[in-house]
Amino acid sequence: MMISLNKETLKIVSEQDVVLFRQRLKEYASKIGMSLLNQTKLITASSELVRNILVYARQGEVIIEVVTDRLQTGVRVTFKDQGPGIADIPKAMQDGFSTNKSLGLGLPGAKRLVNYFDIQSTPGNGTTVTIIRWKR
């Protein structure tokens, strides 16, 4: 069973919010003693997902949580938006797929950087991505 120990919600509407969010996330990760490598992975993955919110949905919110399942402690981040949603998730998860003429590495790359990755999306309704990175 997973328990959430500490929770904070941040609104994401502009580039400045991304900077602020990354700083907060770093605080959470270093407070629980996450290794520098894992911190960097968590923050980079989150940076991708929060950018997707800004680019595709213009705005949304993120929830940062310290979670534990009694065996290990980590940080869970939930990215929620009410944007256009993703019609074909498996396609969006492929390396190099982009509707934005970009690298198309955000989603698949983020998945490789974390221990848990879940994406829910309904076209027209929005997208929710949840990730967890354990302390070690």
């Binding site: 990354r22 490598l37 960097t40 992975k41 980079t44 390396d95 690298l103 955000g106 490789r112 950087l113």
Partner: protein
């Protein structure tokens, strides 16, 4: 409703002005270092004139109407100037609030005999001046925001120095978040400096960049490509071990981009490319 206040103000304008200026000077927060008494006098006179003009219309409640345009314009520019000059919000608000005090003093004097009218007029004029003081605060905050914006862009400029480390070699330490706007500035500075100095190698040091995600990577690649188009080479240095691993997991392809772990090793490779050797001087015997 009779426009008693307007009458009184027109009649005793000079007394109001004098009392107002006295109030301002007496306020312990007045910054004589920031404004001379002469300036204060001219400014206050100008505002009072347009204020009296506005209340003559009999409108005391809606400051969004045409009568108040001149008043609001003066207040706006005054607050913004004060924000630039480093006044505090309090010092700025005191300006209008001390006018209220001056007007009330004169009204009390003129309407001594008619307490009811006095109270009515005081309430009306208070409400009006309160709205106007909110206008000054809003303008003040806008002024501060402009100052912050200006400073941000100045910081952007100065935080992206291009250093000429050696004949033909430029170095650019990047510190902080690398967003599109900053990349643009960095690129412009770098390309300009390549032209100015005729350099053929540029070292982009990213040890001070906290997060390298796909966006930052793309910005870096763009900068490297632009440098190439100018006929120069670009080395990216300061890739920390955890960043290197993260870039690999993300799947970013940096082949074709020269990378080095530290500024020192980038410099060494730049020297080699320029066919220069750095050796220790032999100790004299």
């Amino acid at each position: 409703m009779a426009n008693k206040t307007s009458e009184v103000l027109s009649k005793r304008k000079n007394d109001v002005l004098e009392a107002w200026i006295k109030n301002q000077i007496q306020d312990p927060t007045l910054r004589e270092d920031l404004m001379s008494n002469d300036e204060l006098h001219t400014q206050s006179d100008e505002l009072l004139n347009s204020f009296i003009q506005a209340v003559r219309s009999g409108n005391y409640s809606d400051i969004s109407t045409q009568e108040y345009y001149p008043v609001i314009e003066i207040l706006n520019s005054l607050s913004i100037t004060r924000a630039y000059a480093g006044f505090t919000p309090r010092e700025t608000a005191v300006y209008v609030l001390s006018l209220k005090k001056a007007i009330v003093q004169v009204l009390q004097d003129e309407l001594k005999a008619d307490q009811n009218t006095l109270i009515e007029e005081i309430i009306r004029i208070s409400d009006l001046l309160d709205s106007l003081s909110l206008v000054t605060l809003e303008a003040f905050i806008k002024g501060r925001e402009e100052v912050i914006l200006r400073q941000t862009s100045e910081i952007n400029e100065i935080s992206t120095p291009v250093i000429r480390v050696w004949e033909g070699i430029l170095a650019l330490p990047i510190i902080g978040t690398l967003d599109s706007e900053r990349t643009q500035i960095i690129m412009e500075n770098l390309l300009q400096e390549i032209v100015n100095t005729g350099s053929s190698i540029a070292i982009l040091d990213i040890s001070g960049v906290p997060t390298v995600d796909t966006l930052v990577a793309q910005h870096l690649i763009k900068t490297v490509n632009a440098t190439r188009l100018m006929g120069a080479e670009c080395i990216i240095s300061g890739i920390r071990p955890e960043i290197a691993q993260t870039i690999v997991h993300l799947g970013i392809d940096l082949t074709g981009v020269q990378t080095k772990s530290s500024m020192a090793s980038a410099l060494r490779s730049a020297f080699t490319k320029q066919q220069m050797v750095v050796t220790k001087a032999k100790a004299k015997q």
